[in-house]
Symmetry: C2
Subunit: 297 residues, 2 copies
């Protein structure tokens, strides 16, 4: 039995289990202060150990970021310069390792989801696999050459510049860039542009879907051109907007315009740009996959 934590900026989701068909005791609580929230996660694991009459052999944490993933860094496993008050500099891995005394797998939430999707979901047997999430922010994780993509930091795809939709006069909400992708197409941008929640768009929905798919299709095609993934998984609340994924696929095909000579970029686009095979569990199963990887190393 292993433990998994999907550590989000809004809530923490915790579970124990051995795989996608054995995920138990899934519990969530709001993210408050680091001390309180990490203590609550530790208490959850201890409680599950007691209930099961056995210890967990590892913990995996799929964490909101930015995080330090360089294993040779003195601040490995820390949250770095997050705007979230109080969380900058939090030693996530150290705290859990000390409290639980087991190997701790650690990566970004989206890299965790990419790993889970590649192991059990929509990306099985494929490489590279990219997992994109579009919600309060826009992020992506990727498995490339059988390992998660790190480097200077980790992918931060939300902030790329995109070409504006010709009918879009909205100035964008990103505090760093104004009208970067996240500033134009994440949940808060939709809310601010249309002045209503996605569920309440009513007759504006067609126009909203057209703009949103134009922006997300640019991200999809950038990923195709720069990373050449074998599949792109689009998850997160905003991607559930009815009609969005089909429109996104159509726009991606139209942007590429036949240049990428592969069925995936033309006739097979429906099986190339896909929703998560693991549904809303990609994140928490990401933690579990990271726990498994921590043990196998």
């Amino acid at each position: 039995m292993m433990a998994s934590i999907e550590a989000g900026g809004t809530k923490f989701v915790c579970a124990v289990g051995t795989g996608p068909h054995d995920l138990r005791a899934v519990t969530s609580f709001p993210t408050t202060t680091p001390d309180e929230t990490l203590a609550q996660a530790i208490a959850f694991v201890r409680e599950q150990e007691e209930l099961a009459g056995q210890s967990v052999s590892a913990l995996g944490v799929a964490c909101f970021g930015p995080v330090d993933l360089r294993t040779d860094s003195p601040t490995f496993g820390h949250i770095t310069s997050t705007p979230k008050p109080g969380w900058g500099g939090t030693d996530v891995v150290g705290t859990f390792r000390q409290a639980l005394g087991v190997p701790v797998g650690f990566d970004t939430d989206v890299n965790g989801a990419a790993l889970a999707e590649s192991r059990w979901g929509a990306g099985q047997g494929l490489d590279p696999v990219v997992y994109v999430t579009v919600g309060t922010g826009i992020g992506a994780g990727a498995l490339v050459n059988r390992q998660l993509l790190h480097g200077l930091l980790h992918p931060e795809v939300g902030h790329v510049l995109v070409r504006r939709h010709p009918e879009d006069t909205f100035e964008g909400v990103c505090p760093y860039h104004g009208d970067c992708l996240e500033g134009l197409a994440a949940g808060p941008a939709l809310q601010a542009r249309w002045q209503r929640r996605p569920a309440d768009l009513g007759p504006l929905r067609d126009q909203a879907v057209a703009m949103e798919s134009w922006y997300l299709a640019q991200l999809a095609t950038m990923l195709m051109y720069l990373l050449s993934p074998e599949r792109i998984v689009f998850g997160g609340g905003v991607t559930k907007l009815p009609g969005l994924l089909p429109a996104l696929r159509k726009d991606a095909v139209s942007i590429v315009n036949g240049y990428i000579d592969a069925p995936a970029a033309t006739t097979d686009i429906d099986s190339y740009i896909v929703p998560p095979g693991l549904g809303d569990q990609a994140g928490i199963l990401g933690g579990l996959a990271l726990a498994q990887r921590a043990v196998s190393r």
Copy 2:
């Protein structure tokens, strides 16, 4: 001793040697028909073997594309749908393997250059490393998690959509996309927009550099956001335009605007976006690095 071929759409460069400090008999000839050109390359290798009194132990080919790199594909090592007349479907690897009877390393020209730069040039000890070339086209290769980046195809960064420079009214020259990156910023686009060769820009140079750096900086920041490389190498004829690399670095820092919390994206940008450490030999040394890799496998 190994043999290296930099197989370009305009010319083939051939050499034998053992590494960057022992590269001999560098020879080039125009790319004509596949039969004639491949035969000429084979004749070169045989001649060198005779002169040296020893056989080559491997050949590496850094090839223009698109090429099929899937080792399990029946057309592995072939050039696929190139617009270059006569070359579509050419079995490059098979032809050389049959003629020379040695292991043949094979990848794109830019992946070869990325491998050579990571082994001997500006990317030593770093991962991911991206090599971008800006010449008659725009392309990139990348080493990610110690392997070259393949996937659905291979990176084709030249065709991403970019945001237009506010003063740029040029319609673009890409036959697929019009004003994609390559359509606006590769050599033929510069030639068509300014109606003169880069060396003859005269008083237009400042404006040309400002536009070019704006477009290439968008590519650099996309790479930073999507691939998170530890270094980006910019090579190719167009990048030699005086003042371009410094302007590109400045634009990249300004586009990221502090969001990527790493010295590389701010104070250390001069050592992050760099010219090839191997100069104009990145391509031919790419072939040699591919040959070495073919032997070590």
